[in-house]
Amino acid sequence: MTTVAAQLGHMWSGGSAQLRLGMIQLTQYRASFAIWALSSTLQAVVAMAVWQAVAAANGGTTGGYDASGFAGYFVIALILRELTFTGIVYHLPNRVETGKFAIYLLRPLHPLVQTYGASFANSVQSLVFVIPIAAVLTIAYDATISPSPAAVLATIVVLPFAILARASADSMVAISSFWLVRISGIRGIYAMATLLLGGQFAPLAVLPDWLATIARALPFYWALGFPIELLVGRADASEAITAVAVLAAWSIGLLLVLQPAWRAGTRAYEAVGQ
């Protein structure tokens, strides 16, 4: 037990060092950072505008959301997506493809922890841009955001599980590059799942029933769509128990597969490049 604790402590201090390093590196590139934040904003605002247009064509509401309702949904989506996003599906395969991953293997800290430290720095920094943008959008589009105290509490409980589930799923997708080198196809399908089933492009209420059923069985909806619905006052706080159960089950399952897959993958990895 003590060795596990020591190992976790080592990972924690290493990861947080990576986080500090990431923060310092990122402040150097503020211009490209602002553009990334704008891109996330554009995605959320376009989805909002599309659904508002659909609601307008439908006589005011679609799936129980009116224009302000959709605005609230996508403003919260913007913030929570930034918080749960990890760039690992891009960064790890990129390093594998160029051969730079070999350097990460040499360092005395698990490469995934190194990547997560940097990725979390990324999330925190982009929130610096995204939160003021979200505030402006809330006013400009008269967004309805009215969570009950219980819903806020439930969101705080669910979010760490959401981040863990997303990180494990992202890792599984990313490490497939050890065998395949180029994973843009798999990554595309995965991005499609987070967009359409995770609630990033559309709330669960506008999906056809069969698709909503599939979405509820997978982690994507519980990791993003559900906490959004909690904060806009659509989901019931008591459902947080289901959310935590689904997310924890998927995380444990994925982490159990991840361990041997990582070992086999790093063995299969042939440092191409320099």
């Binding site: 490209s32 891109s39 307008a56 064509a57 400009a140 196809g185 595309g188 967009l195 359409l196 506008v206």
Partner: protein, 268 residues
Amino acid sequence: MRGMHEARVVTAHARIAASTELAYRSNFWAYLVNTVVTLGVSIASIALVYRHTDEVGGWTSDDLLVVVGVFFALGAFVNGVVHSSMAKLVADIRTGDFDYRLLKPVDAQAVAVAQAPDPWRALDLVIGIVVIGFGVSRGGLEAAAGGIPGAIGAAIGMFACAVVIVAAFWTLLASITFWTVQGEGILWALDDMYDHLRWPIGIFPGGLRLALSTIFPAGLAVTVPAEALTGRLDATSVFMALAMATALLVASRVVWRVAVRRYEGASS
């Protein structure tokens, strides 16, 4: 003829870069899978939206297919010519290799925009044209002024404007690299922004529509050719497209000149 000389040099650069990339045959499959998935997401999004209504802001689902087709066809230029060439420019600025570019007796900006095309992206152009054809044949073009030949002519003209808009806008932002040295991130972020523009800007509220016509004019660029192909191109759109193409061309030229004058070289 100075323009001819420029065109020959750019073509030569493009041919060398293209044949280098074509040596990596397996990349074709990676691109194909990627394109099919992207198309799948677009069609699924349209299907999801049109479950609830027949028209969004006056656009039918067939019209939306035309927009997606234009998104792919223009994307072939954005990703396959402009991004890949700009990536080389950005790398050259960082390493100092841009010094040698300036020494050559040819316009450096003309070469920078088209020096390294990625031939696999021609796939997006083909898919784009097929999707446009499918959408147009289902939607019908009879309503367009000047009939079908008129609509196709107008669409080609608007598409040319769209190419100029994206090429000039991307160059303008890549020129920032002359000051910041690090520019790859900006290029990837721009690609990511372009990726969200699969809807006609006409269905958006006024502020967003204006922003996607001026601050990030790629929205206008994707929309105007689709308007021409669905018989809804009006004088305002034509004027906006021509004005933005001209303004961006001039602005990118001016900024480029200032930037090159400021460039100090970083080679050893």
